[in-house]
């Protein structure tokens, strides 16, 4: 199957994942997709926060009605004019105090209401995400790869399992990746060896080296035997090269880097040397010694390495 050239939309980010949840009041179904309206009935989604706010407002309104009824009854059944005035004043003071304390604790009450709603509607939320997942499946089957991937990208914020990751990776492997795309790697790292993931990762780091994070490097090290069998040694050299991106990674994966040191291109070795040189307080151990030895043996007269050769 030939790779498709597609345009991926930017992922909408929220402070918390639950803020992505929305509901169709007509179908009574939750969704996490970025669509504006329900694909079944066309009704506009209501965000979970708006839903909670509406429930919260209704609750406050009901409470206010009960309070007004109680205070009004108190005023109406007052035996004398004097007690009627007293009841009126007491009722007013009570209403004001009630409003004041409710507004002070508004945030925590909103939180309680939100938690209550998510707990009670949990089953429906799960069913809704299942429905979204089926929509993604339909899109993939009908060749709408970008749409299918975007759906899975939203679902993976909530469902973190290898099935979803594998489906996303398979779709990405059928898309022509470009550097202007908002690619992800760390979120797609599976728990076991997956050939499709490695294929995608190698393609993605060609476009953006910063995608290779600690978790991804650790994955390549963990499954190095299978990766070498399927993709060859060059793959691991390339991954070890990307680990030179940060001092932290060099320290963390020193043994792994050391193993492929002599296969690094000049530019990668230069990067390693400059990091070691600018951090003399760090204990670089055998990596530091081996790097110095390699530079002395291979690049002793190279002007780019002059400052590292003493």
């Amino acid at each position: 199957m030939a790779k498709q050239a597609v345009q991926l939309t930017k992922k909408k980010r929220t402070q918390y994942h639950f803020q992505k949840l929305k509901m169709c009041k007509k179908c009574n179904r939750y969704s996490v997709l970025a669509d504006e309206s329900c694909p079944t009935c066309g009704t506009e989604w209501i965000g979970v926060e708006s839903l909670v706010k509406t429930i919260f407002k209704n609750k406050l309104f009901t409470e206010a009605i009960w309070i007004l009824i109680f205070v009004s009854l108190g005023i109406v059944f007052a035996p004398t004019m004097k007690s009627m005035y007293y009841s009126l004043i007491a009722g007013l003071v009570f209403c004001l105090s009630y409003c004041l304390i409710t507004s002070i604790f508004m945030k925590s009450e909103y939180f309680i209401q939100l938690r209550k709603l998510l707990r009670s509607d949990f089953k429906r939320i799960k069913d809704g995400i299942g429905f979204d997942s089926n929509l993604a499946k339909d899109d993939a089957e009908e060749g709408r790869l970008a749409s299918a991937y975007e759906k899975l990208r939203e679902i993976s914020d909530f469902i973190e399992n290898d099935k979803v990751k594998n489906r996303s990776v398979k779709l990405l492997n059928h898309i022509i990746l470009r550097s202007d795309m908002e690619l992800e790697l760390e979120t797609l790292v599976p728990t076991s060896y997956d050939r499709d993931f490695v294929e995608y990762a190698l393609e993605a780091i060609k476009l953006n080296r910063t995608l290779m994070t600690k978790k991804s490097i650790a994955y390549f090290i963990q499954h190095r035997a299978s990766i070498v069998t399927d993709f060859g040694m060059e793959t691991l050299i390339s991954v070890a090269g990307t680990a030179l991106r940060m001092k932290l990674y060099i320290i963390e994966f020193a043994d792994f880097i050391e193993e492929f040191l002599e296969y690094f291109p000049k530019e990668r070795l230069l990067r390693l040397c400059s990091i070691i040189h600018s951090n003399p307080e760090e204990n670089w151990g055998s990596l530091g010694l081996k790097t110095r030895g390699l530079v002395a043996a291979k690049y002793n007269y190279d002007p780019d390495f002059k400052r590292f050769v003493s």
């Binding site: 007690s83 007293y86 009841s87 009570f94 925590s108 939180f111 799960k126 469902i159 489906r167």
Partner: protein, 68 residues
């Protein structure tokens, strides 16, 4: 004279009843306010950890590994 005493007694009863009414009514309002404050404080103590909601949702949704 007797009529005048009866009228005075009646008025005293009314006064006492009115006082009692105001006391009971104010106490009831006070109790409602205290009960509401207690409930709000209790909810406040449960915290407003929105991150916790996210985590709880993620744990529950990933139980059973059915979606995929």
């Amino acid at each position: 004279m007797l009529f005048h005493r009866r009228k005075l007694l009646k008025s005293n009863h009314a006064k006492r009843g009115s006082k009692m009414y105001i006391t009971v009514f104010t106490c009831l309002l006070g109790l409602i306010l205290i009960w509401k404050l207690y409930k709000l404080m209790k909810n406040k103590r449960l915290g407003d950890d929105f991150q916790g909601i996210d985590e709880e949702l993620a744990i529950k949704l990933n139980e059973g590994d059915s979606i995929g």
